[in-house]
């Protein structure tokens, strides 16, 4: 019995870990900050004048926090913080590696752009409906998903961002919005429910929800447990969230209906969370099952990019055209996942970050164009270059960037992916990426020629009669354009970052070591 009481003493200490260093609080700080500011903004619901004045500095601070986290992770490697100081498999861990920190920093930048753009785009009614609180809460969900190291926690963050996205989508309750929201809400509900089913099965098989723990146990369970079923369910659920081809129909039905800034935020961030989850779960936790499924993923990827861009070609409304371009970009990222090589995964990561910035900026550009020309329709647009050549020049840069032409940020990840496909002899996948690039160039080239270059139709108010463009909207657009140009001209730092992040996915030993320092060293 003496041994027993000794064991009791040891146990009480053994289940608790050392408190984390003060700098490591950066891991959860972005999420806590978003929820806190969201709560404050909710209390100030009726002070519509104050909301942007609080939200925009708060988002700027969020950008600083996530950039600080990125630098911290870059310097000291993967970081882990476990809630309540419980030892990892028992407590919920937040584990941040380069991939999570990179996506978190990029998405915070995009959210800052949306906060600034929203100041002129969302009127008092929209603010009373809660644009800024929802913006902060959706960021809490997105950042939580990027930073967590626990699968059930990932599910919860998905739900947080989904319920905030519902709020943003029906801001104003117009007929069109309700129509789009019905399709968006039901199909996304099914996707998250599939994710929950897969999570339930995963716990039944593994007895753990901690990602590092799963990475350790997956090799032991392979062969005895039905892991293929599990991974296929995850693939279906996340492909639906990411809007990959056979399950993408909720996106073009809804993304053009809400306020423009909401469309921009969704196009930039929501589908990329699905891609992140695919990279994390298929790329890192179940690499062997991903290899088995790679041909299926590659076919879905090729169809997603080609059919996506063909949809974009057929649209008259610029916003709907951009919605299809989002889908097309998802196909390119899925191609990287299908390849699974270091070059493929880093191409997918870089393309996702590029797409976050550029798709948001494209919607901003469409909004500015509609303000100048009065319409989103290609049939009635025209003369935008004559009205404001600076905006037109920035839009042209974004068009070239989304088409993947140098020297903009879309060029480099496409080069990496084409080369990675040719390296393993998948010429048809490389061909699909290149054909998609050509068709995208035609799509955006036509928008440019018709809406910007063509003379304004008769009866259009001339530039002098227009109210001046809001400074905030122009600044938000210019900031995002500057990022895509900078990342295109100096690609080395971001490419190195994406390659390091991909290495971390392919060899999760650093990730595991961060969560279980003792066990791994034994």
């Amino acid at each position: 019995m003496a041994g027993k009481s000794e064991a009791l003493q040891d146990l009480s200490v053994a289940y608790v870990m050392q408190p984390v260093a003060a700098a490591d609080w950066l891991i959860v700080a972005p999420v806590i900050w978003c929820i806190l500011v969201g709560a404050v903004l909710l209390m100030l619901r009726k002070r519509t004048d104050l909301q942007p004045l609080i939200a925009i500095p708060a988002l700027a601070l969020l950008v600083l926090m996530t950039l600080g986290l990125l630098v911290h992770v870059f310097q000291s490697g993967t970081l882990t913080m476990t809630m309540g100081r419980w030892l990892p498999p028992f407590g919920i861990s937040f584990t941040v590696d380069l991939l999570g920190a990179f996506f978190a920093a990029t998405s915070a930048l995009v959210a800052l752009g949306a906060g600034i753009y929203g100041r002129s785009d969302v009127d008092d009614t929209g603010r009373r409906y809660g644009f800024y609180p929802f913006l902060m809460l959706i960021m809490a969900g997105i950042l939580g998903a990027f930073l967590t190291g626990d699968i059930f926690n990932l599910y919860v963050w998905f739900e947080v961002l989904l319920i905030s996205s519902f709020g943003l989508l029906v801001l104003g309750s117009e007929r069109k919005q309700l129509d789009g929201a019905v399709k968006y809400a039901f199909l996304n509900l099914i996707a998250t429910t599939l994710f929950l089913v897969a999570t339930g099965y995963l716990y039944g098989l593994f007895g753990t929800l901690n990602m590092a723990d799963i990475a350790i146990k997956a090799s032991e369970l392979r062969g005895t447990a039905p892991l293929m079923t599990l991974v296929t369910l995850f693939l279906l659920a996340f492909a639906m969230k990411a809007a990959a081809f056979p399950v993408n129909f909720w996106l073009p039905a809804s993304y053009h209906t809400p306020r423009l800034v909401v469309s921009a935020l969704f196009a930039g961030l929501l589908t990329k969370v699905g891609i992140y989850a695919l990279l994390r779960i298929l790329g890192m936790l179940f690499p062997f099952e991903r290899e088995e499924l790679s041909f299926l993923i590659a076919i879905a990827a090729a169809l997603t990019m080609i059919l996506g861009v063909m949809g974009a070609l057929a649209q008259n409304d610029i916003r709907r055209s951009l919605g299809f371009l989002v889908i097309s970009g998802i196909g390119v990222m899925m191609a990287g996942l299908a390849l699974g090589s270091p070059a493929g995964l880093s191409g997918a990561i870089l393309y996702a970050a590029h797409s976050m910035v550029v798709m948001t900026a494209l919607y901003f550009a469409a909004g500015v164009a509609a303000r100048l020309g009065g319409s989103f329709e290609l049939t009635s647009a025209g003369g935008l270059y004559a009205k404001n050549s600076l905006i037109a020049a920035m839009t042209l840069m974004l068009f070239l960037s989304v088409a993947g032409l140098p020297p903009f940020s879309g060029f480099w990840p496409k080069i990496m992916l084409v080369k990675a496909s040719l390296d393993i002899g998948a010429w048809w996948l490389a061909g699909a990426i290149l054909v998609t690039g050509l068709l995208t160039t035609i799509t955006v080239g036509r928008i440019w020629a018709l809406a910007y270059w063509r003379p304004a139709p008769a009866g259009d108010p001339d530039a002098a009669a227009l109210s001046p463009l809001p400074v905030g909207a122009t600044m938000a657009l210019a900031g995002l354009v500057a990022i895509t140009v900078a990342a295109g001209v100096w690609p080395e730092p971001v490419m190195a970052l994406a390659q390091d992040a991909a290495r971390g996915l392919l060899d999760p030993s650093a990730y595991v070591l961060s969560v279980f320092p003792v066990e791994a060293s034994q």
Binding site: L11, I163, F166, S173, D179, A185, T193, L196, L450
Partner: protein
Amino acid sequence: MEPILAILVGALFTVAIYLFLSKHVIRILMGAAILGNAVNLLIFTAGRVTREVPPIIPGDADALTGAAANPLPQALILTAIVISFSFFAFLLVLGYRAFQELETDSSDDMRVAEPVGDKTPPSGY
């Protein structure tokens, strides 16, 4: 007990998917409610179903000896119930508002956002 629950889960999924295939929003809503419960029951069953076995560690042991129900899946379900309930509440209001505004319950007729015979882009300059 588990086989019966497993069959029940399967039946609930079947009903939910059948309802989802309908065009009417109200049926899809009922499908969503049933699907949420089906998933919760699935996780509950996966966490072992035992009767009247309190998970108490005997005085002379450090771990549980017999098989007892795992409490963690039940905690997961608790979270999932709250989420699916709030979702259902939102969807119910959304479906009702859509019915008021669009004056239809059929997803075939909900074409305000994507009108049939929408204009095609100009084919020439």
